[in-house]
Symmetry: D2
Subunit: 396 residues, 4 copies
């Protein structure tokens, strides 16, 4: 790929940041309040805009409802646009109301399921008002003990609810169905893996696609292979990027195994260039979203770092010599194929990216630019330190 094409590709990369990544978050043990952490959706959008100003590739922000609930979503949309970003995916929350203790759309009680579905449909309406394309669906639903509920019945309840929401989606929009191995359910999670999400999507319709969160798999699962499988089936809808070693650790994407992130991007770049229409179209419509929970990191800086890690992985994937790779694969030359892939990974793309940023009028080193900008000190001064909770009790 020549520099012109490289720069063009880099200019088209998009990483959506999540509103909830700018506020305080933590583990069940403790949430450490961060000075300057955003306190409401407007401050979150301002932080997201700062990340986009610094990186140039983070032009949208995902919302979480009701965390980001406002009276007037059209106004919110204008506010975002005035700051240079748009509203991205809408993320309904059906896990924090008390009736959801034993599940939302999988709950044995019909009224609770209806309440959850009503909230999902409200979020479809918010999509209309904010111009959002994607309804991003994660459910905490599941059980903690064998026998607690009927697994087949729960599956059917989930299917029915997804169908109803699917059928309410306006044309040109879609629902992204996320799966997760566990947490907060510890025996069985209703949408437990990509296969479960895929089976539901296939059954309910074309507007349903699978969302891959990098932290939601069992140990040792090959995520890039799931990505390749879903791309080939035309059912990969989007990502929740983050990093993990243990469980759903929600660390900065690319920090645990940067080679894995590169391999995932390699599948996506290959699919973007595929001669197969479905695969190519699917790849080009993937929603790249970050979903992290910063416990100890400065929020805005952590988000900039996350975007940069994705950019680096993508840039390396763009450098893969696909012809050499295909030739080695066809020849069964295992190690030459491995080296062809890893030659791209071994390349230091930082100079290339600095040059691209210069060409785009962006700061050459977004981290340095952020650190010297005074942004963090400013927001700490203006916003102060919001109170933070945390799952375990503290001495009253």
């Amino acid at each position: 790929m020549n520099t012109h094409d490289l720069f063009q590709a880099l200019g088209q990369q998009r990483i959506e940041t999540p509103s909830w990544g700018y506020g305080n978050s933590g583990t069940r043990f403790k949430t450490f309040a961060a000075p300057g952490a955003a306190r409401d959706v407007h401050e979150k959008i301002e932080d997201a805009a700062e990340v986009h100003r610094l990186t140039g590739i983070a032009p949208s922000v995902a919302l979480h409802i009701p965390w980001d609930e406002v009276e007037d979503y059209a106004e919110l949309r204008r506010f975002a646009e005035s700051r240079g970003v748009s509203i991205g995916a809408i993320n309904p929350n059906v896990f924090q109301d008390d009736p959801y203790k034993l599940g939302s759309i999988g709950n044995p009680v019909p009224n609770v399921r209806e309440r959850a579905i009503a909230h999902l449909l409200d979020c479809v309406e918010i999509m209309r008002q904010t111009g959002s394309r994607d309804l991003s669906l994660w459910f905490a639903d599941g059980t903690n003990y064998a026998g607690q509920d009927d697994l087949r019945a729960r599956k059917r309840r989930v299917r029915e609810a997804l169908q109803r929401v699917h059928d309410a989606l306006p044309d040109g929009t879609r629902m992204l169905v996320e799966y997760k191995l566990f947490e907060p359910a510890f025996y069985a999670t209703d949408l437990f893996d990509w296969g479960a999400a895929y089976a539901h999507c296939l059954a309910i319709g074309d507007k349903a696609q699978v969302l891959v969160d990098l932290g939601h798999h069992a140990q040792s699962v090959n995520i890039e292979q799931i990505v390749a499988f879903l791309l080939d089936e035309g059912r990969l809808g989007g990502f929740h990027f983050n990093a993990r070693r243990y469980a759903d650790d929600d660390l900065i994407v690319g920090t645990t195994n940067p080679f894995e992130l590169f391999c995932i991007y390699a599948e996506l770049v290959a699919a973007e260039q595929s001669s197969d229409n479905l695969t190519r179209t699917t790849a080009r419509n993937v929603a790249y979203m970050i979903d992290q929970s910063h416990n100890i990191e400065p929020k805005v800086e952590a988000m900039v770092q996350s975007v940069l890690n994705c950019q680096e992985a993508y840039a390396k994937a763009l450098l893969i010599d696909w012809e050499r790779l295909a030739a080695a694969q066809q020849a069964g030359d295992v190690l030459e194929a491995y080296r062809t892939l890893t030659d791209a990974f071994r390349t230091d793309v930082r100079p290339l990216l600095a040059e691209w940023r210069r060409s785009e009028g962006l700061p050459e080193d977004p981290i340095v630019a952020h650190r010297t900008s005074g942004y963090q000190a400013n927001v700490a001064g203006e916003r102060g330190t919001a109170a933070a909770g945390g799952g375990f009790p503290v001495k009253s």
Copy 2:
């Protein structure tokens, strides 16, 4: 469930034992030759017949081709029937010929794929000749290094091969598509999880169903939930029973976590009694097969123990009070539901099973009967100790 119904259900349980479980097998480090281990398919069938004589619920034996290749399969079928067992699933082997080094049906080289497909079609012919209903398909196919092959291309090759075999299946037969997380491939396995197997089955046709091997999942995966999901979708075809703690350890089923085996049987018993036609029919046609690799255990005794562990799990599942369970689930009474399920598990079903065996004219304690029968000493005398290999080099 009253005793009459219990006994009837117990009398209908079926566990198929594998021919390869009666010969020498081992780890990559060493195969310890066992005195009396079966040396050919006739001896394997005789051992399988002994297991059936002792337990009464193991009336068929699975074959592995070419390990069990013979000139005349009609004769083999008669031989088996003369010993009181029938030929069960046919298991093609497309992983031990040298051309399969980089895969069989997923291999980048068309000739190798054709060779593999030809063998699979040969096995369909063997099904006809032996009266077998099930073609049991496991593929070692995969890659060891990122970049080694094109993951989407491999998926498409696998799809095409499965389609061709599917379309050659006689009416009334089916193919069971097995999946496995890893081994012998260590980067990516073409049929890597139930979702991959399910997606292929769905695409290729009604004669394709998923086979669940208890040792082929990532750590912590909830197998009974996969079972429930596949039952509800009408795509659960069969099991390969064994036990594991770490990888595909291939130990005696039920030895690592007997509660998990019980939970799996609980899903099956519930599905057998389901009001949903598809679920009920699917459950009643599940092929229950053992697939183990005995490294240190006496082969026949290990197989009897395996069958008994399945019987015990099934008997406990039959004792579940489904009405009480459903009521607790509907009421959201988490701990009452857990106790309802586990009350059945806590029950000691050994007296019940001994009584059932008496009523069937079977030995009350099949292990004691086997140990006192002289069978093991007899075969050790007749067969001697067959030479055994093993993966790692030995001093020549």
Copy 3:
């Protein structure tokens, strides 16, 4: 073992319940407030006393400081005794104060370490005042990113702090050093496994022993083997009992794999009867403690169930035929040895336990007794539903 000896052994079993198991707790996503959940240490002690009344084997309650901080610990001790229970282990909390964001005794900043050590020493003083024998030490210390801190330096800081606390322990008391694979640290945890805890204990002195929490291991680790190893080295101090499938799920002990809990008790019963002085003494001084976080279960009922599950596992372990087992082991009779162990597990000990309870004047079925006692309705009425927090933000 005859019934007299069995009953005697059952009468000596002890399970300590944790004060924090009676209050609201949850996941990082949400804490569902439970009606009647204990709001302060006195209510927690009353709940613990109810569990002891019902089961007869839960005569002590562990405290968490500062969650259970009071002005007058002598008074608290008397209060507990007046309710029929005693104060058990003291659990310092050095993970919820803001300065502990990057660690407590492993923190790079000396002042923070001193603050943590001062709290630990305060807890030693609370031990004196409450008559507690065990200082139960869990540290959330660790790092989230490679490079975040110097791993060897952290290790040395932890060693020094443990040494200082150890040396302050009164005679006849001890410190139990807990380890955990991860959470809330997601790159490296300072006390990351039993080996790390053991190495520290060995270095600092005889009053330091290892505490095994059943939920703190990597997937597939054999916990009973760690128990056996530590018993043989004289360094097993205690347990935190709970159950898990995935991470530190903190479910009711024995619910995921009851056979594993049985195997752990089997090691303990064997060690209690060992001819080796060190092993036997160590086993007899093990502190059996529950550490669970009930998210969806009724708190007191969940605790009764937990105690009963431990009792059942212990009773089964008492039934092991050790002579038959040793003979099979010596003979290398793998399956006979397995059957000898599992014969005990297969036994339904519920009738035996009901009889023992009758003989002790306890309710035959503690769960039924609890459910019919009105206790839960009473506390719900008296205490109401305490506000509950939760890690993730809620819409203000």
Copy 4:
């Protein structure tokens, strides 16, 4: 670090290759015979010499006894030296003789244990004759079923055997005690983790150190932290390098997560420069050894690639800015510390390494040099394709 010091450090790096990496090896399913694979110890040494000629940092070869058994070890030593390499670690094999079916030094039968110990002592004698410094001890010992053997008794047998071998070691030599989570034992492995190996080493004496095999840990375990812990305790003896995603996959080191390999080398480089005597001395005496099982790769090329992957990781670790790192750590600047570490990892060290090779008279690109040398074609012609076995049965 300036270029002079870098080059000096690079010139001192050492990676020992294993004789068994040059012969045929495979999985339990199949060993694919490779053309030109070494058939005896002399051919293996010639292959090892080729790897050293190409890389300049692989000057020794580990032996496996009895796979590499010869009449005259002094002659073998001279043969190796004539080829430019020396004899490295001696690896006894106590897992392939039939009496070891239920273990070697942990076997319940005293005679079997004596046989194993005698072999270990023979290997000590081979150390003398070959000038080897390290006795590298891996034991397959363990059990497959709960109850199969007494875990504490096995531990004591292992301790006693290790003690006897330790006490027979000549001055200036040592034993490296390897641990492994599982395989070929699937319930419990006698030396199951670093803690078990460490506890034994500590008890038996100063010549015993722990050997870390990168493929022998439970999922998600932080290996670099174990390395740091053992370095600080002065008990890290050596490595068996390889890569894995799932189990003990024995792939080419650095291929699954190159960042992890870098983090391990970062700990070693830091320790080499430590002001602590014990840590520094320990680090400088670490034995760096490769232990891989090439199933599908060309043997010599795979070994060259392995050495290069280690070299690259080491070179990157040498580039870490330790002062900047320490400053960030002290300041609690989490992300600056992460970036400091990863700046070194992000650097493309291939030009630097090419320059170092030129300065050493080595081929700039060892892989290209190997591929164009005709070595592989030559040995394939001379040696042909040796017969290969494999764990599972083949049709006779």
